[in-house]
């Protein structure tokens, strides 16, 4: 008896005319994700994906991998059998007999996509239920809150039996919403921001600013690790590492300490935007949240945001730290984020940062810097890791 994976798509099915584009993207994403795990045949019918492993394919790993593919709302592992009632019952017993033996209550849920099948859904449910009760006399039927639910789906070619669906990653297939550039640091927030926007269908590329020797090689390695973790969800995400040292030193020399962080972040936005445009990315993404640190007051966000001309997505803007941490744990980035390698050297961190800055003041401060030359040099220094 063959085991396959069933995937149900979420929001995507509501997309009307765009649906085929979405399906194609999801198809491609699933294929790419499964490629290293063996041969799988992909079929899409009635809002469901059927992922059939070939001999020797790693179904367990495939199931795990598919849990982080956006566009899928639920996954289940199902067994395939002939569209005969006897075969269905045999399938139930063979694969779920043990589970049912240990349980105290159950129910059968049936769906009949093939209307030509002789039994109607309610009949399948009661007959199959009776079959199970016969073999497991201690079991009770509970239609309200059963411990185990056996799902039977009768489709065109075969019948599928499975024991439950688990929640998928949700969202929309990566790439259906376009491309955006994530400003990623070693903190907890930006990887979560990347995950959240990829979830809405954005294909990502990331930018990281490092300032060796002020920042350590370990800090950069940490970001590379975080980028890899985000790409488990977001798919391929090129990481552009920008040498930011000269800019930091120029700011330190020419700007008053209160404004260090703001001027620095504006440089980051401008450089990120340049990199975004050269990769056809239509927006920037940051992990900014209102009021977390001094540079994230409303005025500060206005000052740093004005440096960009393309939209800036801040998916965490209204979230509490705890909520962000919860997601970070879920996607596996938290433990890496809290490793103690600093992103920004204390040398460039003002003791008393301006909390309610006015844009005019920052623009004036920027007059003393040769922004164009500094940014040009920084962009030339970019190292891209794929």
């Amino acid at each position: 008896m063959k085991e396959i994976i069933l995937l149900k798509c979420g929001e995507m099915v509501l997309k009307g005319l765009n649906r085929s584009r979405f399906e194609a993207k999801l198809n491609a994403n699933i294929k790419r994700r499964l490629k290293p795990l063996g041969d799988f045949k992909l079929r899409f019918a009635q809002s469901t994906y059927f992922v059939e492993p070939a001999d020797g394919a790693d179904t367990d790993s495939a199931f795990e991998a598919l849990k982080s593919v956006f566009g899928i709302s639920t996954l289940s592992r199902a067994f395939v059998c002939e569209k005969e009632f006897a075969a269905v019952c045999a399938c139930i017993e063979e694969n779920f007999g043990e589970v049912l033996e240990k349980a105290s209550s159950f129910k059968v849920e049936a769906k009949r996509a093939d209307k030509k099948f002789p039994m109607k859904s309610p009949e399948i449910m009661s007959e199959a239920g009776a079959f199970v009760l016969e073999r497991h006399p201690r079991l009770k039927v509970d239609v309200k809150r059963p411990e185990v639910t056996v799902y039977v789906e009768i489709r065109d070619e075969y019948a599928y039996v499975h024991c439950g669906r688990i929640e998928g990653a949700g969202g929309l297939p990566v790439g259906t919403a376009g491309r955006a550039t994530l400003l990623i640091s070693g903190g907890i927030d930006s990887p979560v921001a990347g995950y959240m926007m990829a979830k809405r269908g954005l294909e990502l590329n990331a930018v990281h600013f490092f300032s060796y020797p002020y920042t350590s090689p370990q800090a950069r390695k940490k970001v590379e690790t975080l980028a890899e973790l985000v790409s488990n969800y977001a798919g391929r995400m090129p990481l552009h590492c920008v040498m930011f040292t000269e800019i930091q030193e120029a700011i330190r020399d020419k700007v008053e300490p209160e404004l260090f962080t703001l001027v620095m972040r504006r440089f980051m936005m401008r450089i990120a935007e340049k990199l975004a445009l050269s990769s056809n990315s239509g927006a920037l993404i940051t992990g900014e949240s209102l009021g977390q640190v001094a540079s994230q007051t409303m005025e500060a966000l206005h000052v740093t945001g004005s440096a960009a001309t393309i939209p800036v997505f801040r998916p965490l803007i209204g979230m509490d730290k705890e909520e962000i941490v919860k997601i970070a744990r879920k996607i596996g980035t938290f433990e890496t984020s809290i490793l103690p390698y600093e992103d920004c050297c204390t040398v460039f961190t003002p003791k008393h940062p301006a909390i309610h800055p006015r844009l005019e003041r920052i623009l004036e401060a920027e007059q003393g810097l040769d922004i164009e030359a500094l940014e040009k040099k920084a962009i030339e220094s970019v190292e891209t890791i794929i």
């Binding site: 020797p213 002020y214 350590s216 020399d253 103690p340 390698y341 600093e342 050297c345 204390t346 040398v347």
Partner: protein, 371 residues
């Protein structure tokens, strides 16, 4: 490259490496074997024991361990267990290496001992009087390092231990002499002396504990009856022979070599003071901690590294990683956070010091900290 981190570890000398190789490939017998090959190894082992016990004037046994840390553990735990019936109080200093402090704190947490930790002065020296007055009627062990690994400060071990022995002869005295070997005489009347191979151009993974005659310790590692039943396990002959060679080499012509090192150290000191840095170093000059407030340790270390100058960063940029030694000395935060350590050896040449000073100057300028 300009390697100035010898207090962290030293390059194995060719002679020591050869000695190890011979013990691995030629005279590779097990000292416990009864045949000739084993007897040969046993003789070599005895020779090494003699060499090391010759470092102190009192009659002693030498136990080879896996390093300075194991030697410290054996000394401390061994003495505490052996002295169980005489008392449960231990005295040590706040500037000891983690191998001593952590071990004693762990034993304290288990409730087995009560611990008194004596602070140093601002100069990094623990006063002999302070140690002696901390000793009580129920003190069974005093542990005091000979040379501190961060400041190079020489501690008055001989003086303190002599005073302690006068009043409480049963109290066991231990000194971690890991950084002292090769710099000064380690003959300071201690009952137990810890040494490490890789600080004196021997390999990593080998150390020794010198145990004065009559001093009782219980073993930590049990099994076979090797090494007087105090440290089971087939003796690590390659490491031991390399260690013996290293000890012989570093103690021969010690005074002349150290004079040269002192000269180089003074050169470094002058250069650093000229740049407005604070400098802490011991009388021998091998080890020196320098601080240029405003320059984070790790950043300075990385800037020096760009010029192939290798030093130790006193504090890590990561939160909460400050030197417990500098903290115990009562230094200000901005000093501690900018501390780097340079440490010289017989391999160090004038060019190394010049490169260090030049690179330090460059870094200070880059950080806008030149006076």
């Amino acid at each position: 490259m300009h390697y100035l981190d010898n207090a962290a570890t030293t390059r194995v000398s060719p002679a020591a490496a050869d000695a190890a190789r011979r013990a691995m490939m030629d005279d590779f017998g097990n000292p416990s074997s009864l045949h000739t090959l084993g007897r040969r190894a046993a003789d070599m082992l005895e020779g090494a024991q003699k060499t090391l016990s010759g470092l102190v004037s009192q009659k002693s046994r030498v136990i080879f361990t896996s390093g300075g840390t194991e030697a410290d553990n054996l000394a401390l735990r061994g003495a505490i267990e052996a002295g169980a019936r005489s008392g449960a109080h231990v005295v040590t200093t706040a500037i000891e290496h983690h191998a001593v402090l952590e071990t004693l704190k762990t034993i304290e947490r288990s409730g087995r001992i009560s611990l008194t930790v004596v602070k140093p002065g601002r100069d990094g020296v623990v006063a002999a009087g302070d140690i002696v007055s901390a000793v009580r009627d129920d003190t069974i062990l005093v542990s005091m390092m000979l040379i501190n690994n961060e400041t190079g400060a020489i501690q008055p071990v001989k003086e303190a231990f002599a005073a302690i022995k006068k009043n409480r002869p049963k109290c066991v005295t231990h000194t971690d002499a890991v950084q002292a070997l090769g710099k000064v005489s380690i003959d300071c009347g201690a009952d137990l002396t810890s040494l490490s191979g890789h600080k004196v151009h021997g390999p990593k993974g080998i150390g020794a504990l010198i145990v004065s005659e009559g001093v009782k310790i219980l073993p930590e590692t049990t099994g076979g009856s090797q090494q007087y039943g105090l440290r089971a396990g087939t003796e690590a002959m390659p490491g031991i022979m390399a260690f013996e060679q290293a000890v012989k080499d570093i103690t021969s012509g010690m005074e002349a070599k150290n004079l040269k090192i002192k000269g180089l150290s003074d050169l470094a000191r002058a250069g650093l003071l000229g740049m407005g840095a604070l400098v802490f170093s011991g009388p021998t000059g091998h080890i020196m901690t320098a601080a240029l407030p405003g320059a984070p340790s790790e950043v300075l270390m990385r800037m020096l590294e760009e010029d192939l100058v290798y030093v130790s960063a006193g504090s890590a940029c990561s939160r909460g990683r400050r030197s417990h030694v500098l903290e115990a000395m009562g230094l200000e935060a901005r000093v501690m956070d900018s501390a780097i350590r340079i440490s010289l050896s017989d391999d160090t040449v004038k060019e190394d010091i010049e490169a260090f000073i030049a690179s330090f100057k460059k870094a200070a300028e880059r950080l806008r900290l030149r006076p």
